[in-house]
């Protein structure tokens, strides 16, 4: 019975996050437009775009290999698998034992490598340029993510999402300076991973600045739909991850009754809306960085994460 409940929660979670991803991206775009004084398209516009792209036949370069056709599925599939693991409204889902922070980072890396390879497949200059930049930024974002995980692992004793969330809710960790640093590091990583301002501009096709868009310049039709959907899902995943780790309030505990799920669902929607608002406000207020300033930005995130861990060592050493 408990297993059936876990399975049901898992299925609900997956359906929820898969459906919410395009709407969330649309919401962020709409909020940004509003803040900039424009009317903005409806938040449902990304769904319509996806449906339109799916109807079109893809156009591939003459010398494109099977890589161009397979990698959209690999990248989107890896993100879907990662999204299935990050808890949203309830803990104790069927896949919860698998849900590990480092594994999610690995699955996202799988999606990233698939995208970089697809970008290099046609042999055009922009694809290679985007791939080189994307992999370089990831090389700096990864240590910041792992160092943030270090603080969490020390406090919670595990890198499992349920374990971290449970430790935050029940363990009485309270507010710690280290957590603030870890949050700052993770926020910077999230911005870099999702190609948001100030690292990359999701709305640009300006040749000199694009990173993410440069790799999928050759994609069209269903392939482009998959790339776009993977990007939307990645944004939803990261916001959900931040909510699950740092704002686990309202989450239904493992084996809870469905009415707690409803509560958790409401809390999750509120958290995601709040984070989307914060993201839109941040992106409206700040300018994009020059490409070679990004290492400083991510290096600062890494140092903040390290500082958080060191503070933790000192404080536990004194206590």
């Amino acid at each position: 019975m408990a297993f059936l409940g876990a399975l049901l929660a898992q299925a609900l979670h997956l359906a929820l996050i898969l459906a919410a991803a395009p709407v969330l991206t649309g919401l962020v775009r709409w909020l940004k437009a509003r803040m900039m004084g424009r009317r903005g398209p409806s938040p449902l516009q990304p769904l319509r775009d996806l449906a339109k792209l799916l109807r079109k036949r893809p156009l591939l370069a003459e010398n494109a290999s099977p890589v161009s056709r397979a990698m959209p599925y690999v990248a989107a599939g890896a993100v879907v698998a990662a999204a299935a693991l990050v808890p949203s409204f309830a803990r104790g889902m069927a896949l919860a034992p698998l849900a590990d922070l480092l594994l999610v980072a690995g699955l996202l890396a799988l999606g990233r490598v698939a995208m970089a390879l697809a970008g290099m497949d046609a042999g055009t200059p922009f694809g290679g340029l985007g791939a080189a930049r994307e992999m370089s930024f990831a090389a700096l974002a990864e240590p910041a993510l792992v160092v943030a995980a270090l603080s969490l692992a020390i406090l919670a004793g595990t890198t499992n999402f349920d374990g971290i969330a449970a430790a935050f809710r029940d363990g009485g960790l309270g507010l710690r300076v280290s957590l603030g640093f870890a949050l700052a590091a993770l926020l910077a990583v999230a911005l870099a991973e999702n190609a948001r301002i100030p690292v990359d501009n999701p709305a640009t096709h300006l040749e000199l600045t694009m990173v993410h868009e440069a790799m999928i310049l050759e994609a069209s039709g269903r392939h482009l739909a998959l790339w776009d959907y993977a990007a939307m899902l990645r944004l939803a995943l990261w916001l959900s991850l931040l909510a699950a780790v740092f704002l686990p309030f309202g989450q239904a505990p493992a084996g809870a009754a469905p009415h707690l799920w409803a509560l958790g669902l409401l809390a999750w929607v509120a958290k995601m809306a709040g984070l989307a608002l914060a993201l839109a406000a941040f992106e409206s207020a700040i300018a994009k960085m020059r490409v070679f300033r990004v290492p400083e930005f991510l290096g600062a995130a890494l140092l903040l994460g390290l500082l958080g861990a060191v503070l933790l060592f000192v404080s536990t050493g004194l206590a």
Partner: protein
């Protein structure tokens, strides 16, 4: 079992001795490589049997005057027989596929001797046998590195390699002597009886790190590796990167975990962690900047050896701090990575060899688009690339996940300085792993994707048969090892008990876990989940979207049409190896590797092309090549003076030396 292995080593040596006869006909040379492939499989099977059965020991009826040569097979050596055997088998198969005509004996002769040397090193149970095997391995591999001595760069590689091999052997002799102490018995059993303490332990650690570490490619003694590994034939490169560095790590582990005894302080692991982290980052960064496929892979070997060294150092620290479960976790991560890296690096080197054979170049700037001409090689190499980039669910991710979990738990050792250092090492290990992913994308993308960059690459041919089998064997094992790390850790239990005093925590068929109650990694369910997600997406998209694709020319950003002699487009409109490396060269290379770039832009209106010159200098090589030759010159000119001494002075010198040695002996006896 041991008798069989000893016989196998003798047979390999005999095969080497018969090489001048065997190399004369292509068929016989093929048979010789077939025999070494079979020997490799036998060695791996013996390792498996050694892990499942108990330890064994054997005294050979020959040896130096002071005692017999001793062999032993315990958990640790049995584990290292696995990569040794499997790598030998795959590399020999590849060499077999490459034999087309009678070959020079100097290409065949050292190969069985190289394998026998590695086998002897792993099986040795006394210092003499260990050194004999180690030196045979060094010498035979040197002969293989220098086999194409017509090229000046190969001669340079061979010279530097020989220097490092001599230095490493010397350090190991001194380490053995220091461990043996006054008694002078170098049998491992005797060494275990009297483990070194205090300054002696620190000195042995330093000497072993210099001796075995230089052979394994640990920073700052790694500089020979990117020179020597690519100079050898591809199957030898694979064996040097896949197996020889592992044998060196085995010697390191044998000294630090077994011969120095369990009662060592935790800080003994710190230098290993620091050097490992430095090697990992420098190796991974260099792999991103190199423009030669095999040099790139050799640099990636430095990175992986660094990661393994971090694991070994953590295990040493945990054991010293009396945390056996965590020590088993770290040691398990290191051992698993030994096997995983041996497999995927062999695969990648053999794929690079296949590319060299098919497209006649190792330079990334002369390859490209090979996925169309060499599909088997390309897809097999993709498995290796994904494992080297530590992507789930392949083998590299499993061992690096375990290593990161060990690093995340390292704060439990308790010392504040150690905790801060390990936090930095955690960041460096993650940086190295992500840099490795970037390097692997660059390698695979530039070689196999895009358009051909040279006519040779456009007309590349793939060879089938044994060479293809040699690629598929490590590729299949990379997938299997990625799905079943729990099985492998359970298999490694004897080695882990020897190293850490405990078995790996919660290692079962499907799962590997950090500590009790900690995070777990389930590779098979994760693979199934990812496969289900990909399959589900494919099914959904297929239902909605029209089938098939249309083809059109790639948009090349408005470049003018290529001239008629470039049917595959102008290679200059594709990313080049130096261009792809540009972001990392600017972000990290300038500060860590003194990288420079210089763009020569012609004045407006001139028709000369713009030229980008990019380069870097490994600081370790610069430090070595600067003062060392000066010292050698100074020493040589001093030594020259001895030749002018009169006979009286010569006799006096000899007498003084004898008196000095006697005095030393007397002092040692008294002490």
């Amino acid at each position: 079992m041991l008798t069989l292995l000893a016989l196998l080593a003798v047979l390999l040596l005999a095969l080497g001795a018969a090489a001048p006869l065997l190399a004369r006909r292509a068929g016989r040379a093929r048979a010789a490589f077939g025999a070494t492939a079979a020997a490799g499989l036998l060695i791996a099977a013996a390792g498996l049997a050694g892990l499942l059965g108990g330890p064994a020991a054997l005294d050979l009826p020959l040896g130096p005057p002071w005692g017999p040569m001793r062999l032993a097979l315990d958990g640790l050596s049995a584990w290292f027989l696995l990569p040794l055997g499997l790598v030998s088998a795959a590399a020999s198969l590849f060499a077999l596929g490459g034999v087309r005509a009678p070959m020079a004996p100097r290409r065949l002769l050292p190969w069985p001797a190289f394998l026998a040397g590695m086998l002897l090193t792993v099986l040795a149970a006394d210092g003499f046998t260990l050194l004999l095997g180690f030196e045979a391995m060094s010498l035979a591999s040197w002969a293989l590195v220098a086999h194409e001595h017509a090229a000046a760069e190969n001669r340079r590689a061979g010279r530097i390699y020989l220097g490092f091999a001599g230095f490493g052997g010397l350090c190991l002799v001194l380490a053995l002597g220091l461990s043996a102490g006054g008694a002078g018995d170098v049998a491992f059993a005797a060494l275990r009886e009297a483990p070194p303490e205090g300054w002696r332990a620190a000195a042995v650690l330093g000497l072993v790190l210099a001796g075995a570490g230089s052979k394994a490619g640990l920073f700052p003694l790694h500089v020979w590796l990117p020179l020597a590994h690519p100079a050898a034939p591809s199957h030898v490169s694979a064996a040097m990167s896949g197996a020889m560095t592992k044998v060196a790590l085995y010697v390191l582990a044998r000294f630090l975990f077994d011969l120095m005894g369990p009662a060592q302080p935790f800080w003994l692991g710190a230098p290993l962690i620091a050097l490992g982290a430095a090697s990992a980052v420098i190796g991974a960064l260099r792999a991103n900047l190199e423009e030669d496929s095999k040099t790139l892979l050799a640099c990636s070997t430095i990175e992986n050896v660094g990661l393994i060294a971090i694991g070994l150092g953590l295990a040493l620290a945990f054991r010293g701090a009396d945390l056996p479960a965590l020590a088993a976790l770290a040691a398990g991560a290191a051992l698993l990575h030994v096997l995983n890296h041996a497999m995927f690096k062999t695969l990648l080197f053999l794929a690079a060899g296949e590319v060299l054979h098919g497209a006649l170049s190792r330079r990334l700037d002369r390859l490209g688009g090979l996925i169309h001409r060499m599909p088997w090689t390309a897809w097999a190499a993709l498995v290796g690339v994904a494992a080297a980039a530590s992507l789930p669910p392949l083998s590299g991710f499993a061992s690096e996940w375990l290593l990161l979990q060990a690093l995340l738990a390292a704060w439990r050792v308790g010392d504040l300085a150690f905790q801060i250092g390990v936090a930095a090492a955690t960041a460096l290990a993650a940086l190295a792993a992500a840099l490795a992913a970037a390097a692997m994308v660059r390698f695979w993308g530039l070689v196999f994707l895009g358009r051909p960059r040279s006519p040779r690459a456009a007309g590349a041919e793939e060879s089938g048969g044994a060479a293809r089998l040699a690629l598929l064997l490590p590729a299949g094992l990379t997938v299997l090892l990625g799905l079943a790390p729990g099985v492998m850790l359970a298999l490694a239990a004897p080695a882990l008990r020897l190293m850490a005093g405990a078995a790996a925590p919660s290692a079962g068929g499907l799962v590997v876990g950090a500590a009790e109650g900690g995070a777990r990694y389930w590779p098979l369910p994760v693979a199934l989940l990812a496969a289900a997600a990909i399959g589900g997406l494919w099914w959904l998209v297929r239902r909605r979207a029209p089938a098939g694709v249309a083809r059109g020319p790639a948009w090349d950003c408005g470049f003018i049409a290529p001239p008629a002699h470039l049917p595959f487009g102008d290679p200059a409109t594709q990313p080049s190896a130096a261009g792809f490396a540009q972001p990392l060269r600017r972000m990290l290379g300038e500060s860590l590797l003194a990288a420079q770039e210089h763009v020569a832009m012609p004045p407006p209106g001139a028709t000369a092309p713009a030229v980008l010159r990019a380069g870097f200098a490994d600081p370790a090589l610069a430090a070595l090549e600067g003062p060392l030759p000066r010292w050698r010159e100074a020493l040589a000119s001093r030594a020259e003076r001895l030749r002018d001494l009169s006979i009286r002075q010569n006799l006096g010198l000899t007498f003084a030396a004898v008196v000095l040695l006697l005095a030393l002996l007397a002092a040692l006896e008294a002490g």
